[in-house]
Symmetry: D2
Subunit: 360 residues, 4 copies
């Protein structure tokens, strides 16, 4: 497995299994001298953590990050930052019948093919969504480093099932909105959207089912000229990290797939002078042109599939007996993973953006 | 700039400017002993080349690849394969007023910010779509190496403007379809779709405008267990390469963004035994689970924005005088870049997939 | 700082400071299914640990590795292996005056320039030789994976001060010798050499001084054809890792610098058939030709400078007052670091060699 | 094969075979806006080229670099710089019997094992020393970029056979000496050393033999704080590139292997104030401490083995018939490759140092 995000400057090495002793990460190459705000780190960890309300699994996880290195008197030292999060509330029993009967749309089967059964399957093992906790920790640090460069990043739930939130106003995203969103555990632009989305999730939960969605993320304050063309694009680098989040199946920048239906005259982002500065009249490209930041806000969306773990019986195969089997998953599941994915999307983006900024 | 696709095994280094002496690439790490079919290379180069019909710019380019190294008696030697394509039909005059008045939705402005005017802007310079020719060359070689592993890859035009082709039958893609598609210069599954798409493009052309679209690509014959989780996912690696193609603004795997609206019970790909082998009852995940190939066909789609170069006058800014300006682009443009993008998508995917296969 | 050894398959991320909470590492990409022998891991950790006898600092370190992930029921799972070693016996007081008066030939001064004083300087911080403990842990695992491929690796002390041990018989290194060496805490081929070397170290210790040396390392069982030419050479990759060990100032393969004085007719390794197999009549190239393993034993030597920390007063500069200063280092030092460096050299080589083998 | 030097910023991809159409390279990531001095490029190419006098093979090579991209009006554009050098004077006949009877101490045999005979063996193919020509080209560009940062780099022949030149005065290397050395085709500090070395080479030539040597290289003007500890050391990165030069078998920094015999009190580089600045009283560490530049000149030496191609008959094996064989190499050889290696050492160091500087 490769759980290293090998950026140019910042390299993130994630470790741990859902039911092992601990999970965590090492952040190598993080800038020295950044004063850390531990409350903000904790807040992001809690936005990701399960057990807050009915939209997520009732499983509780303490998710207390213990910093082992790289921080002295609350400031980063430039040395690798290692963090450990102990695993506590683990019920392996729930997962026992899973190892030989792969859960549909989980990694169980391809992991079995790849590792021949050597891998730890308890609770998804190293493939578990729980491994996003160290990513959120690293992202919280990256956000603080980004703020020292004047960059603010936050995401909202664009869609759950058939319910859509308002979209960001791509060419005009104000800081206050992002500051609100980064504190919310169910972040939407419109309050009505939240209520309808919660209802959609509750319906799925009552049906023993799950539902998917889309997260839209924005970063403001990144000036033009960062990134590179062809094989060093801002889009390529962000999507590489974003597809590392379990359940992500699509990434689009700006108007993305919607551009397929447009004419050039409707899609092009024209220029104009604003207070003597070059500005954009629209931002359908989501702040990236030719792989390089344009100076407009960076905006992208991430498609998230419905949680594969559902209570309904599903067709599968027993890999030992090579017979068809019906699988019933008993454990505790999220009827919708999208709200908890929001801070993970922000984190993966923040780590990558910080690297892109430091790399220039 | 970074025009190196630094895979683990195969590294592609692309060079050249639209109006320089030559463009080309070096393919490092390509396997030794592959017998090359030069007709197939030429065919892919021609599928990408402009000037074939009214859907593309009438500009003619010879696009004759001259192999400088790495091939002896028609077989690869294992040494780096260098290829050169001379630039011939270049009219720099057409582009003269562009350098100081950036074309909307092109890389002109961010490249100006990044390089402070040192970069070669003639014809887009190193950012030109012409630089996809060496990628197609490398892809043609990768396809041949993939075929020796039983893997076939091809793409079709899924959508142009409001016209949609049929979609691949994700769980049941036959080789004959892919073999037909890889020979076509305007590849669609349904013949009617082609006719309607051509009409859509012609309408845009007559309006001095352009239109976007979506390319859908499939690879069959990849068995399960390739790739890796978290930061070595098949999705992340493919999208990284795909976003290196100019005008790509979105990538989705399997049902992609459509999964947002689904329930888990509708989205999950259940298992069943087929002739004693583990098989899938559907393939909404597009052949990748937990970042690892599942054994089902790999299917993904790529959103392509409308060609930014249109004849209509556009608002821009003169970067020298710092005044608002109206830009009229005279040169020769593609009213729709999507048909020519098809072999480029196949190429970027083939190079990456070959690397993923060799890496295991 | 970059404390990641970013090999192609196995990536080692080391973290920790001498006086922080813990040191450790994450080993990403380690093969699944390797049964670990914890006694051998412990043995290598102890060979590196200080406090064994008068050749090393009397400082005691428990150096108990706690595995956090990647190992289940004594076998590797393929997931990242994280290990933590708590820091216990740390006396920060000894180092207090050091931070502003850099110790000659230590990293203090360039680290101060680089990090502007943000870095943790207690006990050398992240630059401390103590950080080699996780490398030895990773090396012990790599050795076990190498043994499953029939490869055995071990090193001896070739020289300390003016005392030289016998050299390996490059073309004929038997496994028994390597098996003996890997168990020794003061490994020499000749027993007399050990006695004389110990005397040399004791003399330096009594003088409040230190002494340098050379470690020679061999790997047998690596067949021909691994590695690559130019920028993927076995020599380049091994030396890259070896220079990561503090105090290493030179690396040579086979006869190395001695080849400067030779004629080609004396240096060339001729071929002969031996039991029907291609064999070498000598091995002055140390098992690598054109960057690729030749099939002969891999042999290289590593120059290690005298421990910079000595009791004698030294000239330095106070970085705060910008005045000349005399430095007396009180802490506990190794009069000779060479014996403790032996398992670290083996470890860095084992990790790199395993990666080279897996990469083919 | 991997002929890519994948630095962090500058990536060098070398291609070509000794007897193919052309050799060359692509330099990706080179800074924009550097005005190139083509006479200096030519001068370095000629220092490396054969056929100048009796110390080298009489084979003449034009070695005219043709720039294909990345340079406009004599200035770098920031886009990849591709260069091509046509092969002209190639006599394949000389090498015909070599392919099946490997030349001792050449890469023939391991390359045969690795590529199973698919590789181009004519004239060494991609392993040929001729492939150092594009490296020298890239190095000449890197030197010019380094000069714009105030860094000067040059090397001399430290030793050939038993004849030694003076060594650099590590702590006090003046620019004039380096400026003289970079123009010489047989660079020594002492004029007498040159005469004696030439005699040593002539003796080897008359014997149908060859002789090895050592090149010592220095870089002045690099301030402290560049590079990194552990796995990003200046030593590790330079040695990685230097071992990419054919025939290099050892690399040492500062006093290197000589430090083995020293006491700490003799080896440590003490500090003193000089004109109010922190300065060193000696530079046995060769300008690198803890993997980071110290601000003192960077000095290192490179051991070069005798040219393996000699006229004397040598024992080898016929790989087809599996019989012992006697090999007589008829072609044109260098009795000593060391003088021609000097600009290659400078080049590999310059490319790497530039990357280290840009990376901070």
């Amino acid at each position: 497995m490769s759980s290293i995000l090998a950026n140019n400057k910042i390299r993130l090495s994630v470790f741990g299994e859902s039911h092992g002793a601990a999970i965590g990460c090492v952040i190598d190459g993080f800038p020295a001298g950044i004063e850390l705000d531990f409350d903000k780190i904790k807040r992001d960890m809690q936005r990701r953590a399960p057990g807050r309300d009915k939209t997520a699994t009732p499983r509780k996880e303490a998710d207390e990050p213990i910093i082992l290195s790289g921080v002295l008197n609350g400031k980063t030292t430039g040395a690798p930052i290692a963090v450990e999060i102990k695993n506590t509330n683990t019920k392996s029993g729930d997962y026992e019948n899973i190892s030989l009967v792969p859960r549909p749309s989980h990694s169980d089967y391809p992991a079995f093919v790849k590792y021949g059964g050597s891998n730890d399957v308890r609770g998804g093992g190293h493939f578990s969504g729980r491994l996003t906790a160290p990513i959120v920790f690293a992202g919280a640090l990256a956000k603080q480093a980004l703020e020292s460069h004047g960059v603010k990043i936050a995401a909202h739930i664009r869609q759950i099932g058939s319910v859509c939130d308002e979209r960001f106003d791509y060419n005009n995203i104000n800081k206050e909105l992002l500051e609100r969103l980064e504190t919310e555990s169910f972040g939407t632009i419109s309050a009505e959207a939240e209520a309808k989305m919660r209802a959609e999730i509750e319906k799925a939960r009552l049906d023993g089912d799950s539902v998917g969605g889309i997260v839209e993320c924005a970063a403001i304050g990144v000036s033009g000229g960062f990134g590179g063309n062809m094989f060093n694009t801002v889009e390529g680098r962000l999507s590489y990290a974003l597809f590392g989040i379990p359940a992500v199946k699509g990434v689009e920048f700006g108007a993305g797939f919607g551009l397929a239906e447009r004419r050039g005259s409707e899609a092009n982002d024209e220029y104009e002078l604003k207070d003597g500065e070059v500005a954009f009249k629209s931002n359908n490209n989501g702040g990236v042109l030719g792989g390089i930041t344009s100076g407009a806000p960076i905006v992208f969306s991430v498609a998230i599939k419905p949680t594969p773990s559902i209570s309904k019986p599903q067709a599968s195969v027993n890999l030992e007996t090579n017979e068809n089997a019906t699988l019933v998953i008993n454990g505790r599941h999220d009827p919708c993973i999208v709200p908890r994915a929001v801070p993970v999307v922000e984190a993966a983006a923040a780590i990558t953006l910080l690297d892109i900024l430091l790399d220039n």
